[in-house]
């Protein structure tokens, strides 16, 4: 799902010889237009705000139900107490955090690599860019299926390769690896799937950032004798900081939210998302699931706020230096 920042800067537009009176920021509103304006805004925002208001309300109220079905106590913090006392919760929180901490910078690096590859002019660039967009077009579930095919146990392409069955590759392991039995390997596969599928998003945001650096700056630097590396270091990177910051923020949100890849590829090692599903579908405890969900929402809101702060601080202090 392309990041909002990318969409905000990169939405398609039709231009029809814009008149001189055209103010991009919108016009101040006269009394007569106000009613009309709110009528236009109302349906969408009514829908979103009531829906999410209800969602939040239900999440809170459901999570405060505690006890056996039919005889729940309300309001009770029982679910939260149980959660905090449960080792599964802490294990899932740890895994999710690792997923975020490793996954976010990884996605930034991969996206940056792709963006730099297609940023320059070359024949077939449109084609290559379209190919780079493919992973995001494909449903996550399909990506997970591809990974499970490649990494199947005991006989799959990767195991065949590592066991030297292909002849042209050295035998590295003697027995097939069971990817799904090891926590780091299983979560690694989930991370691989996530990174593979979502790399076009980071790429698009960074490409927009690269596109906003004018060619003349590089030409000027070249006349002063800057090498390619120096151009990258002193021109590209500093001006790409805002784009990189939005990649970090948006991708970290998505990493916290991740469900499908760990659900399919690492079912034995639940992250918070998987734990919610487990509580709801397997343990049949909607109220406990709601409590977990609320905790996850709060976690995301808080960490995003903090990350935003840190990045803004770094941005102002790094870019000015």
């Amino acid at each position: 799902m392309p990041g909002l920042a990318a969409l905000a800067t990169g939405a398609a537009g039709v231009r029809t010889g814009a008149g001189p009176r055209h103010h991009l920021g919108g016009d101040p509103v006269g009394r007569r237009q106000r009613l009309y304006m709110w009528l236009m805004l109302f349906p969408a925002f009514f829908y979103l705000v009531t829906a999410f208001g209800l969602i939040l309300y239900e999440m809170v109220t459901i999570s405060l139900l505690y006890g056996p079905p039919g005889a729940e106590a309300y309001p009770s913090l029982g679910n939260y107490a149980e959660m905090l006392a449960s080792p599964e919760f802490w294990a899932a929180l740890r895994r999710t955090t690792v997923f975020v901490v490793i996954g976010t910078p990884l996605q930034l690096l991969v996206g940056l690599g792709l963006a730099l590859l297609v940023h320059r002019e070359f024949r077939l660039r449109g084609m290559v860019r379209a190919i780079f967009m493919l992973p995001i077009a494909i449903p996550s579930v399909v990506t997970a299926v591809i990974i499970s095919l490649l990494f199947s146990v005991p006989y799959g392409h990767v195991n065949d390769l590592l066991m030297g069955r292909f002849g042209w590759f050295p035998r590295l392991v003697s027995a097939p690896i069971n990817w799904y039995a090891s926590e780091p390997l299983a979560l690694g596969l989930a991370l691989l799937g996530k990174t593979w599928r979502d790399m076009p998003i980071s790429m698009l945001i960074l490409l927009a950032g690269l596109g906003s650096i004018s060619e003349e700056q590089y030409e000027a630097a070249r006349t002063m004798g800057a090498t390619s590396w120096q151009q990258f270091k002193y021109i590209t990177v500093p001006q790409l900081v805002p784009a990189m910051a939005s990649v970090l923020v948006l991708r970290s949100i998505e990493a916290w939210k991740e469900f499908i890849f760990p659900y399919i590829l690492a079912p034995s090692f639940p992250v918070l998302g998987t734990l919610i599903d487990h509580a709801y579908h397997v343990a049949k405890r909607p109220s406990y699931a709601a409590a977990l969900a609320l905790v996850l929402v709060v976690l995301i809101a808080v960490t995003t706020g903090v990350l935003n702060r840190i990045l803004r601080f770094l941005e102002t202090h790094l870019v000015k230096a």
């Binding site: 939405a11 398609a12 016009d27 999410f52 493919l134 599903d277 909607p286």
Partner: protein
């Protein structure tokens, strides 16, 4: 200079391989014969099937539940597109045209909705939809309503730029010529904005087509309402047969791959527009 070119070409090759190889493998499995997937460890699985076959595709096409899932997916996606555009286009227009107190709040609201993880929002949503009066809605409509929650902020964001690109003179001219505001919006603004709005529509379609969590939860007790991704997961749980899974995965992906080439055009146009600004 030479070294950089070489490094770049190498990087490009690696990137293309990383993206295309998994897709190729998926396709390969979908046409694999039995001997190519059941090896018993005596030989490695071949990179091209021994005897390529479209057997699995034929099998899928013969199954009623596959078709049902396909039809459900298309219907839900179309409902979602219709709903998102109907709600989103007017809102985007208002946000593009007017500056008012509360503008920032609305934009912030749109952005902050993305903080909610789908796996968290889905719990209260399902609980609501299981209870009256919403349980009376057809399950397809339920899923489309949920998908609209996800797509609407994006549709609004994408369309704001589209409406900003339309000169205000057009509306004023229409007003002078005697159009009501509604008439101006539907007969002048929407047709002019249509190519730009198409990007949002395609985006929404893809989102709904690919979406898993809401479709999965809302159709959990009702296998009839499964969309294709949910159907794929059901098949996965029911058989580990690689070629069948792969064939199904290919069938789900082909329409979106074709569609994404269309989106690509808009995204490129959008990116240059953003760069010029």
């Amino acid at each position: 200079m030479k070294r950089i070119r070489l490094g770049w070409a190498l990087g490009l090759a690696v990137a293309l391989f990383m993206i295309l190889f998994p897709l190729y493998i998926l396709f390969k499995y979908s046409i694999a014969d039995r001997a190519s997937i059941v090896t018993g460890g005596r030989y490695p699985e071949p990179l091209w099937p021994f005897a390529p076959t479209f057997e699995m595709y034929r099998y899928l096409v013969s199954r009623g539940d596959f078709w049902a899932a396909g039809v459900t997916s298309v219907r839900i996606a179309l409902y979602t597109v219709a709903l998102s555009l109907t709600l989103g286009a007017p809102a985007a227009y208002a946000l593009a045209r007017y500056r008012f107190a509360g503008y920032g709040v609305l934009i912030f609201t749109l952005l902050s909705l993305r903080l909610f993880p789908d796996i968290a929002t889905v719990i209260p949503v399902v609980e609501r939809f299981y209870k009256p009066p919403l349980n009376a809605l057809p399950v397809e409509v339920q899923v489309a309503l949920a998908h609209t929650l996800l797509s609407l902020p994006y549709v609004i964001f994408m369309s704001i730029g589209v409406f900003q690109g339309i000169p205000k003179d057009l509306e004023e001219q229409a007003a002078i010529l005697g159009c009501s505001r509604l008439y101006t919006f539907t007969r002048i603004l929407l047709p002019v904005a249509a190519p730009g709005l198409a990007a949002g529509a395609i985006y929404t379609f893809l989102l709904s087509w690919n979406e898993f969590i809401f479709a999965y939860y809302l159709t959990f007790t009702n296998p009839e309402g499964a969309t294709l991704p949910v159907y794929l997961l059901r098949v996965m749980a029911w058989t580990p047969q690689k070629n069948l899974l792969a064939a199904l995965a290919v069938v789900i992906s082909v329409p979106v791959i074709l569609f994404s080439f269309l989106v690509q055009k808009y995204m490129q146009a959008g990116l240059t527009a953003g760069a010029v600004k």
